[in-house]
Amino acid sequence: MIHAESKHRNGALPLRPPDVVMRLRRMGSFHQTRISFMRSLLRRIANEGWVLTRPLFELDQEGYGTVVYRVETPAGVCTLVAFSHELQPDERTDRVIAKKWDATFALTLGEPTAADIERLHANVPKQEAGRVSANECVLSRANKSVRLFEHIVNCLAHGWQPSLEDVVDVGYLMRTTAVYGNGKFGLADLPRTFGSGLFTRPFEAEMLTVYLIREFTIDLVEHIAAARAPLRATRLDPPHARALGIGNSTGLGMAPFLVAHPTLLHRWMISRETALARVLNQAEAAPDKRHLFVRLLQRAIGHVAEWHTQDARQASRVEQLHRELVELGEGLPNADAEWLTRVYPWQRLADWAAAHGSEELQELLNSLILEPYGELVDGLADAMTDPETPGFDPAMTLGELRALIERHYSWALSIDFDQADAQHFFWYRSEEKEEPRLGERSKEPGAEWEMRLGIAREVQALYDALTSTTLDANGCVAAFLMHWPDWRYAVRRVQTIDGHHYGEIRDNLLGADCLAIDLLRCKLSFFGAIKFDPKSDRWTRITMYQGAPRFVELDGETADAWALPVFIGKQPELHA
């Protein structure tokens, strides 16, 4: 139990230690926050007054053709070029090994010419098999949720609105199956994308692409409905449209990213933890903050009630989370509840949750209490980019290196890798589109080419080598690596983590108890995803932007008013 008063006497609250935060189970309990990338993007669009137009809309009666969305920002123009295709049911798969999709997209830097659109038309539908240029910065594709898509088209063609229950049950008209950036397939390299001035934060171009795809899907169903029944068709009313996000299927491809980019992961985590610490450190909560929190808590109860999943593990967690939220809501019925009016209310809440609640609850509350404090939190969204050039100290002695390992990797040194369970899994790249996969070491071939996700094992082996080496402990790292360059990765990793404490996941990713789904959830929460719906322990469906205002609705008030959306039940408004 953390005692708020003692923290107060000692000055600012410390951040939660990496040993607490950087655990798979906790990372697999993260939720969207104010500084998640979707949230910060919508704030930016609203604050900077970005303008969306649709200069090209050439779809046939069935909705196949080309649409162009132009986004004007103070830093310049970017454009989403969307292609809608006919797809046979047996060709529709969300796996990365698919070759055809219902719709394909490219986000261009600037305005494409007619020739550019022709070029894109010849390449974008092929996705990985095509070739784009450095004028494009994102490549993506999406498949329809056939049942909901047809249902909504049918309803609109009859002049009806679909039932909100049906809309929310699925939550999207299309789901993306890949969103590529950073130089892949000819796309602009990241320095060019950032150099355009249009995008300043991690995955911002990708998040904009998905947001525009959402606009496209809504335009598409309305167009098809109007084509079927020109005189009778209606458009989606705003609440129904807002209830539609974009689905996404995410597999293991996302998992190695967090391990391969420790300094970036550190930036994301420390921004989140700093945001949390700033709020926990509030000695008192002003009435307007308390009111907003109580409304959010009620909304969270409704939101979780609408979070459905067939996955037994996640369903159990959601059910428990709902129970815990209801219990908490009963204890905090209004903004004048005793807990909220005492000193350090948010720290008390966090302490209570840590002692009595699940990690799902703890992390949902951590997201919740940030919501009333945009003035403390939102600026941290600008601190989540990292140049990723960690320094290296070749003069460090081997004794110092050992001490670093002991300081930052005691969790790794305690693992017994002689036990088969400790090396149960290996991660590998399949020859099929280089899809990352997870194999069982004792049963499957390919372990000799495993990917470097076994950081704990690697660092432990380095530690053993340093212990047994005949080199003097006062010898330097540079000389050590001249002899044994095999340790270069591990040595650099240890030195990097010394300055980036949140850069390492403090669990054994090779262990039999490793759940890759936790890695996916962590990263997706930073994107701003909600309603995680695991389909196995290796891939999940999510919803993006569900409940978010549409582009034309964005303003300073709406841009942040879509946290924890509720659609079926009563949704407490976040703004008076």
């Binding site: 390299d189 050039t389 399949s430 360059p485």
Partner: protein
């Protein structure tokens, strides 16, 4: 075919890993290759030569490092040892000037990206390269001024990639004033920071032209890191669909 820098990096990293280049070094070699080609400097031939010998540890390992004596780089691959050489110069610097003599080095251009990594931390480097027949080059890396390449007589940067057996005097310091001065009367700048930056900007817009033969050679190495797919791996390995 034109390739983006990220494609170059990824292909080179996989190729290096597939060739048997140690973990971490494969990443740095790939980053160095992308750094060089982004600036229009030759790199692929040196890399492919290095990868071809990567199964022989003598190509990138030093058995002993005696202070004061020149390191003998005979039969070592410059693309693979450049990071370690630059590390050693920096480690030798302490609070003053780090020096290192290396004999018989090839692929000396790979010293540049290795040094540039340290330049962002404030380190300055000067490399004197002396080849057979008196051909000499100077490489300089400074935190603010960037990279420059000079030669004492007719020569071009492309030729530098193919020269082996270079004797190298390397020094680094955090004080630019402590670096040797370039003798402007006897050297010609082959590439300076401005011209390299200009090329890099163009590369970001247009990519890098990579000959298919080069790409295919890299692919030969890179394919080794990919595990053959089976229906079982399709279902189990990725969690099914």
């Amino acid at each position: 075919m034109r390739r983006t820098l990220n494609e170059v990096y990824r292909q080179c990293q996989k190729a290096a890993e597939g060739a048997g280049v140690p973990a971490g070094l494969d990443i740095e070699v790939a980053q160095a290759t992308a750094w060089l080609v982004a600036r229009g400097l030759p790199a692929f031939d040196s890399l492919i030569q290095g990868l071809g010998r990567a199964s022989d540890r003598q190509a990138f390992c030093f058995s002993e490092v005696a202070s004061g004596d020149p390191l003998n780089a005979t039969n070592k691959e410059g693309a693979l040892i450049a990071p370690a050489l630059v590390d050693l110069v920096v480690a030798n610097a302490g609070e003053t000037v780090g020096r290192l003599a290396v004999g018989s080095l090839c692929a000396a251009l790979y010293l540049l990206p290795a040094a540039a990594r340290y330049a962002s931390d404030g380190w300055c480097f000067h490399f004197e390269l002396l080849g057979a027949g008196g051909v000499a080059f100077q490489l300089q890396v400074e935190p603010d001024a960037g990279v420059s390449i000079a030669a004492t007589r007719d020569g071009d940067v492309t030729a530098l990639e193919g020269i082996s057996g270079l004797d190298v005097q390397a020094c680094c310091t955090r004080s630019i004033d402590a670096l040797p001065n370039r003798d402007e009367s006897s050297t010609t700048i082959l590439a300076d920071a401005a011209s390299l930056a200009e090329v890099e900007a163009k590369t970001l817009g247009n990519g890098v032209e990579v000959e298919s033969e080069t790409w295919d050679l890299l692919t030969t190495f890179a394919l080794k890191v990919l595990v053959p797919a089976t229906e079982e791996s399709r279902q189990r390995g990725a969690g099914g669909a």
